[in-house]
Amino acid sequence: MIKKEMIAMLLAGGQGSRLGVLTSKVAKPAVAFGGKYRIIDFPLSNCINSGIDTVGVLTQYQPLRLNTHIGIGIPWDLDRNRGGVTVLPPYEKSTSSEWYTGTANAIYQNLEYMELYNPDYVLILSGDHIYKMDYELMLDYHKANNADVTIAAMPVPIEEASRFGILVTDEHNRITEFEEKPANPSSNLASMGIYIFSWPVLKEALIRMKDEPGCDFGKHIIPYCHENKQRLFAYEFNGYWKDVGTLGSYWEANMELIDIIPEFNLYEEFWKIYTKSDILPPQYFAENSKVFRSIIGEGTRVYGEVYNSVIGSGVMIEEGAVIRDSIIMQNVTIGAGAVIDKSIIAESVEIGEGAVLGVGEEAPNTLNAKVYSFGLVTIGENSYIPPRVHIGKNTAISGITEASDYDNGLLPSGGSIIKGGADR
């Protein structure tokens, strides 16, 4: 019988709706990050670097990009004879069929998968954080405490604490109270959504709570374990950990990578981050190109100017184009003479020549002021921006737009153009 001490279950089915048009076609874990990576590369690389070779990836929302990215797990050395990576979509059962209705419900629906490996411990991860963490150390801590559940946690500023699950602990780090998104937090130790469960405890809780609608770890399973007087411990983590759930935090986390010595260092030999790379050639800089404080992926051709930006692989930046403070994902073409300021441009977008992005004063977005703020221009994948249009701040564009979509050639700050059928 196969026996794995610890297996990982990676929740990658969420839409991440606060990323707006960036996730209209892909699940959040598949969104590009840091020039050549996708967000899911970070937890997957952490797994293999921590010695975990069996990972179930739970997908639901728009899984195509994730499926093709993960494949049989070759980039992460997760192509194994026993174990390896398995993509776990929701499926039809003889008695019922339902989507994954919550984080714990998704895990519950895959009890069989976990049983297959006969684990002692199960690690629950989410596919939307940027960090490097050795889960083996966390497991050692779990064992040393003889814990039933260990929750990774980090201190956050108290004013932000109400966005998280908050842990109150005693002097031995044992959790005495658990508050999910409290209005008045009584501690600043926030759960990072990373759990190690002793397998019998997890199994019992999942089965017991299976009829809970939208069964969720933070809302149901952890409180259930707590009420049953199980040994819950907090594992304090003080390294770099970033939730890239909003456009603002996503932009910031990318921009931090271009600091001279970034807090999150991709250049360390130890703890490499792996990804599937399709594009191999080196990048080319033309005679009149300029580059300053930027990171740039493979095969990108720079004929224009790039300042303070994160540029993906296979990007074409034509002559006279200027890019500042922006994130450009892979296979984008920036037309000659275009000026791009503080924008996030998703994969395979084409920007017509002479287009100007990020002009004028800020104004609140009329479609969704909460999502499209931070002064950013956000363009969804496969979009087309016609030549010489001007686009203001806090704007969102998705689809093949035409010159007639822009009044007098301008999309003012706060405006949006969302078109269907962005297939080209």
Partner: protein, 373 residues
């Protein structure tokens, strides 16, 4: 495709000087992200050849490391796959490979145990893109015994380090001079051949029985009047990297738009072993013009008309001009490098100056202790 492939990657060459003292020529890094043998292997893979043998001998360690997994070229198959043949001692053989024919002959079981009717033979030091299926079609159409892929060199290039061929109007090869003192023409053999498998077995066994070991001298030239030896003209880019000057020039060719687009942006792709390196990073002070930069590089200085291979670190105020910097080189602050090839894993101190004089390319080998700096 109805052929198996053989890549000859065993050769050494004094013309590569220090660069080949620790690696086989087929393992020479090329164009920032590749190694020389990737071109032959990718061409075979893209021509749907499923079974390929790489024959190595000289300094094979770096090459074996590069070939440690066959999946990068899509050779990780149950049918066929990638075979690496190093010289071995057996009950009836205890010699090294004595030549290009002998190295195939010593592995003749590979030929005998295959069922594909044709064999494509290529060398590991050519930089080109070629659909072998087209060459095979031509080979069959000409009813040839051996087809040699040839290239017309530009008149200014010296053909005397190659095999120089002459053809009749039907493209049958009538003259073949290996490395002549003075070249009588500028059409040269690229070292790429197609032969029927049974024909090749027969020719190799005959040569071996007469103690002849060289494919060109003892098979091509010796049989050219008896067998039908035809030339197939390659019209796109081809270059052989086996001298320092041609190695340097080949890398510099990739700074030309047409060459770069041909290899990097036109289908099909060239594959290579994937290194998990982060994107290249440009700090304040970086100035990059007409240059190629591979992943994992960190640039703080000036780079002009140069090729930086993977994981090169360029310090503050450095000037790198007309140079090829191989993998994993560390260059300390304020150093100037001009017209040089810098050997991989070099560590170059701050405030140094290396320049190749009078149009000559200088090879820099500097093994300083990196972590004491």
């Amino acid at each position: 495709m109805r052929a198996i492939g053989i890549v000859l990657a065993g050769g050494n060459n004094k013309a590569m000087k220090e660069l080949s003292s620790r690696r086989a020529i087929a393992a020479m890094p090329v164009a920032g992200s590749y190694r020389s043998i990737d071109f032959a292997l990718s061409n075979m893979s893209n021509s749907h050849i499923q079974k390929v043998a790489v024959i190595t001998q000289y300094n094979a360690r770096s090459l074996n490391e590069h070939l440690s997994s066959s999946k990068w070229w899509d050779f990780g198959r149950k049918q066929g796959g990638l075979y690496v043949f190093n010289p071995t001692i057996t009950a009836d053989n205890s010699v090294w490979y004595r030549g290009t024919a002998d190295c195939i002959y010593q592995n003749i079981d590979f030929l005998k145990n295959s069922h594909e009717p044709y064999v494509v033979i290529a060398s590991g030091d050519g930089i080109y893109k070629l659909d072998f299926a087209k060459v095979l079609e031509y080979h069959i159409e000409k009813k040839a015994d051996i087809t040699v892929v040839v290239k017309e060199l530009p008149p200014e290039e010296d053909a005397s380090r190659f095999g120089v061929v002459r053809m009749n109007p039907d493209m049958r090869i009538t003259e073949f001079e290996e490395k002549p003192i003075e070249a009588s023409g500028n059409t040269v053999s690229t070292g790429i051949y197609i032969v029927r498998r049974r024909q090749l077995i027969e020719l190799l066994e005959k040569a071996a029985s007469e103690d002849r070991y060289d494919f060109v001298k003892d098979i091509l030239i010796r049989y050219k009047n008896i067998k039908r030896v035809y030339a197939y003209k390659l019209d796109s880019y081809w270059s052989n990297i086996s001298t320092v000057d041609s190695y340097y020039k080949t890398n510099m060719d990739f700074l030309k738009k047409d060459v770069r687009e041909f290899f990097f942006n036109q289908y099909p792709d060239i594959y290579s072993k994937v290194d998990d390196l982060p994107p290249a990073k440009y700090n304040p002070g970086a100035e990059v013009r007409n240059s190629l930069v591979a992943s994992g590089c960190i640039v703080n200085g000036k780079v002009e008309n140069s090729v930086l291979f993977k994981k090169v670190y360029v310090g503050n105020n450095c000037v790198i001009r007309n140079s090829v910097i191989l993998n994993d080189v560390y260059i300390g602050d304020n150093t100037v490098i001009e017209n040089c090839i810098v050997e991989s894993r070099d560590t170059i101190r701050a405030n140094c100056r290396y320049t190749g004089e009078d149009g000559k390319v200088k090879i820099v080998v500097e093994k300083n202790e990196r972590y004491n700096m």
